[in-house]
């Protein structure tokens, strides 16, 4: 039934939570409650949650009293029950909606702050203090901010890509390098230059939005170790995400921690400042789209709305790839898994070959990642095809990956030399019940069991031999 398939398609994305949510869920209730005191944080966390969670929050937001749990669940149709329960669990883990068997009510701190966020007012100043108009200097246009963010971000990525090839591009700042190393995206061998790791290769194929959050998550982990107050770090990030692109904000009212963060975020390209001591800063597009789940990060491809923001790769059934790009970064990323043939000012032609894909696989990139990269960056012309990528090519890439997985090694124990066939059968059946048999050979009366089943099987055999004696 087509209607059913479309239904499941529309429902699946709700099960993929945002990368930040697990981190938030691991925080203590105390931390979260302090975070919820700021309306802007409530607002941003609200945006990060799934659609169903958002609807539940909105439903409960304006209620003064708690609502019986049965009343609420009557509102969900039977097929949606699973999703609804999952949503309630997520909200409970975030301490937004305390778990209860009788009545549902929002966390009072969250409720008060979020109401304030929706209606405005209060004096929390959590949405950022706009800077006074400066007559001497004109404010930055959106274009310059975009260009700045793009330059910063691509410097980081470019550095990662080219480290594997031995060339030396411009180095990002020390803080960025440290973060890359800490996150395991790059590693340093015996004092030599930084080298990209397999995690780093995978990182390169993610969407810019995921890349950004990956790095910020690492930053948050690092902040904990650097004794920074996590609540202040998070609320500053959330504040940035609610700000207006192209407007200047004042550093007044920021705490010391947040001022220190400003410096780091400047390195990543999230914030623009005239100089380090400047009293004003402007968030870039990287920062203001933090809580939007859609990919339109024009910074990834340069000018907004350009033809490239749509995608630039054409893949043919003969494994040829035509990439309409003049960006060295995109060329370098493509070079991870294709063999380059020709380069023109705005076009790169290459082939997906067995060698090139195997090289990528040995770097730790998976076949699915290659395919998803090609899909997300497909040229608009390709979008007319159904399926988007030629099936032959997709299958071949997966087959090349399978070639690497012909041998699988597992630790375990070989059980042999059984006294009788009945003995053998008896033990084998027991092992099968435990689901620990990896291989068996009846004619030679032996089988191979996995490591974690060994104690049980040994005990079983001993008991049996003891009992027989």
């Amino acid at each position: 039934m087509p209607s059913l398939t479309t239904q499941s398609e529309t429902l699946t994305p709700e099960s993929i939570p945002h990368t930040l949510l697990p981190f938030l869920q691991s925080q203590s209730q105390n931390t979260l409650t302090r975070l919820y005191q700021r309306p802007s944080s409530c607002f941003s966390i609200f945006r990060l949650t799934g659609p169903l969670e958002r609807q539940i929050i909105m439903n409960l937001l304006w209620l003064e009293s708690a609502i019986p749990i049965a009343t609420m669940s009557a509102w969900v149709i039977r097929e949606g029950k699973k999703l609804y329960d999952a949503a309630l669990t997520t909200l409970a883990n975030l301490h937004i909606l305390p778990q209860s068997n009788v009545k549902l009510a929002l966390n009072p701190t969250f409720k008060a702050s979020f109401r304030q966020a929706i209606t405005g007012g209060g004096n929390s100043s959590s949405f950022g203090v706009p800077a006074e108009k400066d007559d001497k200097r004109s404010t930055n246009t959106v274009e310059t901010l975009d260009a700045y963010a793009l330059e910063r971000w691509e410097t980081i990525l470019h550095y990662m890509v080219s480290s594997g090839q031995g060339s030396l591009p411009t180095k990002p700042s020390q803080g960025v390098l440290y973060l890359l190393q800490r996150s395991g995206l790059m590693t340093q061998n015996h004092g030599s230059a930084l080298q990209i790791t397999s995690a780093g290769f995978q990182f390169l194929l993610h969407t810019p939005h995921d890349q950004l959050w990956d790095l910020l998550l690492q930053y948050l982990h690092m902040a904990e170790e650097r004794q920074m107050d996590l609540v202040e770090v998070l609320s500053f990030l959330f504040m940035l995400s609610t700000m207006d692109l192209g407007r200047e904000y004042s550093t007044e009212g920021l705490s010391e921690t947040q001022k220190a963060m400003l410096e780091d975020l400047r390195d990543y390209g999230l914030v623009w400042q005239r100089k380090a001591t400047s009293k004003r800063f402007s968030p870039t597009r990287l920062a203001t789209t933090l809580t939007s789940s859609c990919p339109p990060l024009p910074t990834s491809t340069g000018t907004s709305g350009g033809p490239q923001s749509q995608g630039f790769i054409v893949l043919e059934t003969n494994y040829r790839i035509y990439a309409y790009t003049d960006k060295p970064l995109q060329t370098a990323v493509l070079n991870l898994f294709i063999t380059m043939k020709y380069r023109f000012p705005n076009l790169v032609v290459g082939m997906l070959t067995r060698e090139s894909v195997k090289k990528a696989l040995s770097n730790g990139i998976s076949a699915e990642q290659i395919i998803s990269y090609l899909t997300t960056h497909a040229h608009p012309q390709m979008r007319k095809n159904n399926p988007l990528l030629p099936v032959t090519v997709q299958d071949q890439i997966r087959l090349w990956e399978l070639e690497r997985n012909r041998l699988k090694s597992e630790e375990g124990y070989l059980y042999k030399d059984f006294g009788s066939h009945a003995d053998y059968e008896y033990v084998l059946n027991y092992a099968k019940q435990l689901d620990v048999v990896l291989w068996e050979n009846t004619s030679r009366r032996c089988f191979f069991g996995s490591l974690d089943g060994h104690t049980n099987i040994r005990g079983f055999i001993e008991r049996r031999t003891n009992g027989a004696v």
């Binding site: 239904q7 529309t10 429902l11 994305p13 709700e14 309306p39 802007s40 607002f43 609200f46 945006r47 799934g50 659609p51 169903l52 958002r54 609807q55 909105m58 439903n59 937001l61 304006w62 209620l63 009557a74 509102w75 969900v76 149709i77 097929e79 949606g80 999703l83 609804y84 304030q116 966020a117 929706i118 209606t119 405005g120 007012g121 209060g122 004096n123 929390s124 100043s125 959590s126 949405f127 950022g128 203090v129 706009p130 609610t242 700000m243 207006d244 407007r247 009212g253 789209t289 809580t291 939007s292 789940s293 859609c294 990919p295 339109p296 749509q310 608009p380 012309q381 979008r383």
Partner: protein, 297 residues
Amino acid sequence: MEKASHLSVILDLSPTQWHLSAQSSNQYPLSIHSFLSQLLAFLNAHIASKHENTLAVFGAFPGKSVMLYSSTDPVADDVPPADANSYSSFKVVDFTIVRSIMNEFDALGNLDEEPPCALVGALTKALCCKSISAHFHSPNAVEDPAVLPDPRILILSVSPDLSTSYIPIMNSIFSAQKLKVTIDVCKVYGPDAVFLQQAAHLTGGSYIFLERRDALLQYLTMSFLSPPALRQVLAVPKQDKIDFRAACFCHKNIVDVGFVCSVCLSSNHILFYVVKLWFTYMCTVFCQPVPVCSTCR
């Protein structure tokens, strides 16, 4: 990827009806001020739900329809500067809508007789608005249709049905159906509106008659905030009974039994003629159909 959604809200702003609605003789009086403040909270909630969500607000004033706000328009210059305590988009939305409504009310002046509200005009404008008609203008454009937001229209109605606008309303509904736009209707005040019930039914939206009018905001959030994709999980109330009655061409009355001229159907022009009879079937027996079809003669 979860899609962004576009919401077009159509406000029925008939001064007379709102005056009646605010009368304390009602069980739950609702003045336009408290209506607007609850509505703005709802609109903010829509924008808050997703960064990419877009919004357009249309007003149906007596004899005139006006676009009050559109999130695709550039921000007006005279909007007060952002302050640190509120999200800047909210401020722009709230300010622009309230100011445009006040301007329009002032421009109305003192009318002796209030012309009917231009609900049709507002509805057609909402359909013409680029976020919705884009599906029509670029059906095979290079851009992925998945990029365009899911459109829907919410009508907040206070006026009774206007049978003279039956044909244009039905035409708008069919075009909405063609464009796959969901129309939701919330009847804030007044009797049930037959045409709007049909609109909601035909486009797969929900029609809600507001019973507890003091709980407007809760009704709005529970029923109309969720985008169509989410309504597969949530049991959004639909209407119970749908009236499929039509308006006749001769007296513009709403009838449940009528006569359809088949002469004009088989002649060179495609013409229908619905003759109004009396409301009950008893009378249909006695009532003479008109001798000549006035539409096709």
